[in-house]
């Protein structure tokens, strides 16, 4: 088997005395779409931030295409990040920049591409997420939440990454817009041949975009398998989550 694009080995993360990740093991192959399910407070976002190198794990190792993320610094880390895209839950668009400047941020600020060329490429990428050039000069505050997600998706794919992280991509969107975002994610991830790691608690989204699904509960992966057997997982935790029942081994986060 080839080197996985992402591998987490016994990753632990604590904040003071609170242990959020208690030894996460996960592998993502090139071109695979993995969805990590988990309830509120299960450690999904912390796992993602560790995988991205935004947080340093307390213990364990994270490998990106065979390179240790936790030990990478400076140029090595920059090179890794150039191969990774990220769609944040809130979109995380820069308020002070226009839509096209957000999409072309890496080209303008890191790759030092000429503004004219970066703008052209940004508008071309906006078209891939079904946004016209008329939104290019608007500011993020002037467009809807669904459009912001698309702009954020365009920003995450513009540099043709090998791995894209999606942090709850459909949260806060109506079902129709959410489905459109799922379609775009599938289309772009497949089109690029990239691997995708999405964290969500939206089952409709998980069913649509996942090749494989993992379930994170109390800081550990308690189930991992193909998306098409999620309804027959044999795990009462997964069953409860998939069917959205308040009763079962998982206690509601209230």
């Amino acid at each position: 088997m080839s080197t996985p694009i992402l591998k987490l080995e016994n990753v632990k993360k604590s904040f003071g005395s609170k242990e959020v990740l208690k030894g996460v093991d996960i592998e993502v192959q090139k071109g695979e779409s993995l969805v990590v399910l988990g309830g509120s407070g299960s450690g999904k976002s912390v796992m993602l931030k560790n995988a991205l190198g935004l947080m340093t794990p307390t213990a364990g190792t994270i490998w990106f295409d065979g390179q240790d993320v936790t030990k990478a610094t400076g140029r090595t880390r920059e090179k890794m990040r150039a191969r990774i895209g990220m769609l944040f839950q809130s979109g995380a668009l820069f308020d002070s920049l226009t839509v096209w400047e957000n999409v072309g941020f890496r080209l303008l600020q890191v790759d030092k591409m000429r503004r004219k060329d970066a703008r052209e490429l940004a508008i071309e990428t906006l078209k891939k997420v079904r946004l016209g050039s008329d939104v290019a000069d608007l500011y993020p505050a002037e467009i809807s939440g669904g459009m912001q997600k698309r702009v954020s998706l365009a920003r995450s794919i513009i540099s043709k990454p090998d791995l894209i992280f999606f942090d709850e991509p459909t949260t806060g969107l109506d079902p129709i817009t959410a489905d459109a975002i799922n379609d775009l994610i599938l289309e772009q991830v497949r089109g690029l041949g990239a691997a995708a790691v999405s964290i969500t608690h939206d089952m409709a989204s998980a069913r649509k975009i996942a090749d494989n699904i993992a379930m994170l509960y109390e800081g550990k992966i308690i189930w991992h398998g193909p998306a098409d057997i999620i309804d027959n997982s044999g795990s009462e935790y997964v069953d409860q989550f998939v069917h959205g029942r308040a009763e079962g081994p998982i206690q509601p986060a209230i």
């Binding site: 931030k49 991205l52 190198g53 935004l54 920059e78 990040r81 150039a82 990774i84 895209g85 990220m86 944040f88 839950q89 809130s90 995380a92 668009l93 820069f94 308020d95 941020f105 890496r106 600020q109 890191v110 920003r155």
Partner: protein, 270 residues
């Protein structure tokens, strides 16, 4: 048993409380020192984002001109009135222009500019960066291979240490003119004599003292704003708290640094 646990939870051991406060204080100083060193390293080594630096010079320098100018004119005017009132008790009214220019250039021009910018700029920077922190924009910057130290903090730091001295020169000029206005139109001073006395008495060292202080104040104001913004906690309360802490912290540090620098300048005869 319940009484014991209530006592344990409700009334903290004073020694524990003092210990925790002292440790917390030193931990905060340590974090601020490391943050400050990282900002300075980013500011004085490539890569620089020229567009961001220019934008911050406009924000910090140009847009602070009205508040600095208005504050300076009133301070200069009030200073002239007070010196005239005090001086007249000893028949020393003629020293108004001399003391106004000395007070403004060495002390009041730079201090008032520092305090005004602690409010306008430091709080503004921390609110902006705090909002970026809680909406994951700073995480997004890092994932796009742009260091927040180079893209956000260093431009603000450089803009502040460049803008503050220029603003102080403006404050000095307007402050002296505030004193001149009151003296000529309210206290019957001769305009030409007042201005000649001002220029004859003022030395390059007086102006230099204010300008050197301004560079230090600029660094303090920018670093406090960036630091508190970077550490901002989620929600409107978190961002609001960061803005308050940065403003209060910057104002206190401006006054403390002012005293230390004044002492140093007196010692070295500047």
């Amino acid at each position: 048993m319940s009484n014991v646990s209530t006592r344990k939870r409700g009334i903290p051991n004073p020694l524990q409380w003092i210990g925790a406060a002292v440790l917390g204080f030193f931990a905060e100083i340590g974090r601020l020192t490391v943050f400050s060193a990282r900002v300075k390293f980013a500011a004085f080594t490539p890569r620089w984002y020229a567009g961001q630096i220019w934008r911050q010079i406009i924000n910090i320098g140009f847009y602070s001109l009205p508040v600095v100018g208005l504050s300076a004119v009133f301070i200069g005017a009030a200073l002239a009135l007070n010196i005239y009132e005090g001086g007249s008790r000893y028949g020393a009214e003629q020293f108004v222009p001399n003391i106004v220019v000395l007070g403004i250039t060495r002390e009041l021009g730079v201090t008032i500019t520092g305090l005004m910018l602690a409010g306008r700029v430091s709080a503004g920077i921390s609110a902006e960066i705090g909002a970026m922190r809680v909406t994951e924009q700073i995480d997004a910057l890092e994932t796009l291979s742009a260091s927040p130290y180079r893209y956000l903090y260093a431009p603000r730091f450089l803009a502040a240490i460049v803008s503050l001295p220029l603003l102080v020169l403006v404050a000095d000029t307007i402050g002296v003119m505030g004193g001149w206005l009151v003296s000529v139109y309210g206290l019957d001073f001769d305009s030409t004599t007042y201005l000649r006395n001002t220029l004859d008495f003022m030395t390059t060292e007086d102006v230099l003292v204010g300008v050197i202080k301004a560079v230090v104040f600029g660094a303090v104001i920018a670093i406090m704003g960036c630091y508190q913004g970077d550490r901002s906690e989620a929600g409107a309360t978190g961002v609001g708290r960061a803005a308050t802490l940065s403003m209060v912290g910057a104002a206190v540090l401006v006054l403390a640094t002012n005293y230390l620098l004044s002492t140093l300048f007196v010692e070295i005869g500047l």
